[in-house]
């Protein structure tokens, strides 16, 4: 479904290279976890896949369902089924959650030739999705993320995922900021949303999340590259040993520095 081939990316116009040759293959039905130290490029990777204009791909390719999406705008990538749950969800004052989601849902539906929902139908539809992440309906009429607590913003991201039903979800540190109960509820929600036809990439610092959402593969990213890949047990090992022992791998590989 998603294939990153020797992906290099830098901050547009500033020549600061952040992704330094990422290779990754994600197939339908899979869950991947990406871990790694602060500043190693995990969020940048997710934004580059979603098409953030601030970063420029200088080398390599992003294939989605076998085709390069480098030339596609962020909204076109969203129409194609790519969803990014932001590490820092953005506030949009004066625009209610419902307004945003109805517009999102209907644009995506239209682009995929699905039927658009009128306000009443949409109302029923999102009420059902709310319950999936046990979110209070009051949030529907509040401005997007405006004044939301850290945890509320994260839950809101997964609520949006539930509404938009993407095929590839990149979840950037969704667990950070969620309290113990919220983590369980949101994880349950993500598990319910996941099936044979979609894939999830989780970015996280904590192995605890992976007790709830069991990954098929765990990757370690250091200094803009994936330096190690393993199964679920790799996360446990990292929890125990930290990243120090992997730093050397990065230089052994050569080209990174």
């Amino acid at each position: 479904m998603l294939e990153l081939k020797n992906l290099h990316a830098e901050v547009e116009g500033e020549g600061i290279e952040i992704l330094k040759g990422v290779n990754l293959k994600v197939s339908k039905g899979e869950i991947h976890a990406i871990m790694g130290p602060n500043g190693s490029g995990k969020s940048t990777l997710s934004k580059v896949v979603a098409g953030h204009p601030h970063y420029e791909v200088t080398k390599g390719d992003i294939l989605y369902n076998g085709e390069s999406i480098l030339e596609m705008d962020p909204d076109e990538r969203a129409h194609a089924g790519i969803f990014l749950a932001f590490q820092y969800p953005v506030e949009v004052p004066g625009v209610t959650n419902t307004t945003l989601l109805r517009e999102s849902y209907n644009t995506i539906a239209a682009s995929r030739g699905r039927e658009e929902l009128d306000p009443l139908e949409f109302d029923d539809y999102i009420k059902e999705k709310l319950s999936l992440v046990e979110m209070n309906p009051d949030f529907l009429e509040r401005s997007v993320n405006t004044g939301f607590s850290g945890g509320e913003k994260k839950r809101n991201e997964i609520f949006q995922m539930a509404v938009l039903q993407p095929t590839l979800s990149l979840l950037d540190e969704t667990d950070s900021g969620l309290d113990i109960d919220a983590l369980r509820i949101v994880s349950d929600g993500i598990n319910k949303l996941h099936g044979d036809h979609d894939a999830i990439v989780l970015i996280t610092h904590y192995q605890r999340l992976l007790n709830y959402i069991i990954p098929d593969h765990v990757h370690v990213m250091i200094n803009g590259r994936i330096v190690k890949t393993g199964g679920k047990e790799l996360a446990l090992e990292l929890e125990e040993k930290g990243y120090d022992w992997l730093e050397s791998l990065e230089t052994v590989n050569g080209e990174a520095k």
């Binding site: 547009e12 601030h54 909204d75 949009v92 517009e103």
Partner: protein, 480 residues
């Protein structure tokens, strides 16, 4: 950065109202002197006292200096070559629609304002002003049944001289400022509205101002009087053709609210705003002021300012009556090379008077957008309250936003609160919405509409859609 450029270029969609109507005008000499002022008065068949009013104003104007204290630079209007009066040759008698020049009728149709009562928005009476001359006022009979007078100022001078004598110039005296003095000397037409005691005006009133003639200045005069226990809501809309030359528009609007009366005055201003390099466009130098004369009276100004190359405008309220309320809700959008210096004055004189100011400035392109507000609490105004909120939004890196609040309080019981914010429509905000499948255009539109929401909801419902559309046109376009 390329993204920012895309953002900036999309904001400049072409002006849709820039066409010209081909009609014949009456001959009228250009320039200004006492004879010209007399000639205007004569053309309009005015009584002696009106001519005197004009001449006094003219003499005051000659002594005055053109102001330059605002945050805008532009080429000064050429007062000695300007044409101060312009009227279509076949001026109808304003009795029936059939008498309106078909070209002018078509102009209004094109603007989306059919003059045919059947076709008009239900519940909205329109006064159509073309090059400062009132062309047609709809629903006159229906309003008359309720006792409401809604007609052109010229007609009011003829038919209701006692009201004009009593109120014209009572809120904005001829000597008030340079442009008000000029207007008082040469005003050509405008709208007049009188709502009698205990009357709720049965429909929205609205005036559409259209500038067509290239060489003429526009000097409209609007006067609205709400007697005790009355209520009226009024809206003005403005458009003009695209010309390379700047045109001067210097109107005066006066509102008077007596005991328990309420006036709601809304403006959707979309004069031609010049091209990318600031060539052409309207100079919008307008004096708007309301007087809350009676106790418990209320005046609200709501404005959506999107057009003109230079705007200097401060709709104000003088809160004389005890417990009176003044409100100012404003959205000012500047783009390209536009400059807007706009805001309000709230003058608290009566006890327990209250004022609210909500101003939203959106700047894009290479434009400059300033808010200038004055809140004054005089000695006798016990327990006066003001709340001001001024928010600026910047789109791109080349525009400017400024806030100049002036506060003056001579009474220790007064309370003044002022809040101001500046935000930038960030790439991150747009990216977030795009990631949710929304196009760049629509994302900007959503963000801006969200930003202005508090003000837009103050517009009369019939015009809310129009306002949204206008913001859309102003801020959307093809991504470059």
């Amino acid at each position: 950065m390329s993204e920012t450029k895309a953002l900036e270029s999309m904001i400049g969609e072409e002006y849709k109202y820039g066409f010209t109507t081909d009609i014949e005008y009456e001959d009228f000499p250009s320039g200004i002197n006492e004879d010209i002022v007399r000639l205007i008065s004569e053309k309009k068949n005015e009584p002696e006292w009106m001519t005197e009013f004009r001449l006094k104003a003219y003499r005051a104007w000659v002594e005055m200096e053109e102001p330059s204290w605002f945050n805008a630079t532009y080429e000064k209007p050429k007062f000695d070559t300007l044409q101060y009066y312009s009227a279509p040759k076949n001026k109808p008698k304003l009795n029936s629609l059939d008498e309106v020049d078909p070209n002018i009728r078509e102009t209004y149709e094109k603007l989306g304002i059919p003059l045919d009562e059947q076709k008009m928005l239900a519940g909205v009476a329109v006064d159509a002003v073309f090059d400062s001359i009132s062309i047609f006022t709809s629903f006159k009979e229906k309003l008359a049944e309720a006792g409401v007078i809604f007609c052109s100022i010229s007609e009011a001078v003829q038919d209701h001289p006692e009201l004009i004598k009593k109120y014209m110039g009572s809120v904005v005296p001829a000597r008030d400022n340079f442009y008000a003095a000029l207007n008082s000397a040469v005003f050509s037409d405008g709208s007049f509205c009188y709502v009698p005691k205990d009357t709720i005006c049965p429909m929205e009133l609205s005036t559409y101002f259209r500038i067509n003639n290239m060489n003429s200045g526009q000097f409209e005069r609007t006067l609205i009087i709400a007697e005790e226990n009355s209520h009226v809501s009024y809206l003005e809309g403005c458009t003009a053709p695209v010309y390379d030359e700047n045109q001067l528009h210097a109107a005066v609007v006066e509102l008077i609210a007596l005991d328990n009366a309420e006036i709601k005055y809304s403006t959707i201003q979309n004069w031609y705003s010049g091209d990318e390099n600031g060539k052409g466009g309207i100079y919008n130098f307008v004096t708007k002021r309301g007087a809350c004369r009676g106790k418990n009276s209320k005046i609200s100004w709501t404005q959506l300012e999107t057009g003109s190359v230079v705007t200097l405008k401060y709709p104000s309220v003088i809160l004389q009556g005890d417990n009176s309320v003044g409100e100012f809700f404003s959205v000012a959008v500047t783009n390209k090379m536009q400059q807007a210096d706009t805001g309000t004055k709230m003058i608290h004189i009566g006890k327990n008077t209250k004022s609210t100011i909500i101003s939203k400035g959106i700047s894009a392109g290479r434009s400059n957008n300033s808010y200038r507000g004055e809140v004054k609490i005089s000695k006798k105004a016990d327990n006066a309250r003001n709340y001001s909120q001024c928010d600026s939004m910047l789109i791109g890196q080349t525009c400017g936003a400024h806030t100049f609040p002036y506060i003056e309080s001579a009474n220790p019981t007064g309370k003044i609160e002022h809040e101001a914010t500046t935000s930038r429509v960030g790439e991150d905000q747009i990216f977030y919405l795009q990631q949710r499948g929304i196009s760049e255009d629509d994302a900007i539109s959503l963000i801006v509409n969200g930003f202005c929401k508090e003000v837009l909801k103050e517009l009369p419902m019939e015009f809310a859609v129009e306002a949204n559309k206008l913001l859309g046109i102003k801020l959307e376009g093809s991504v470059g």
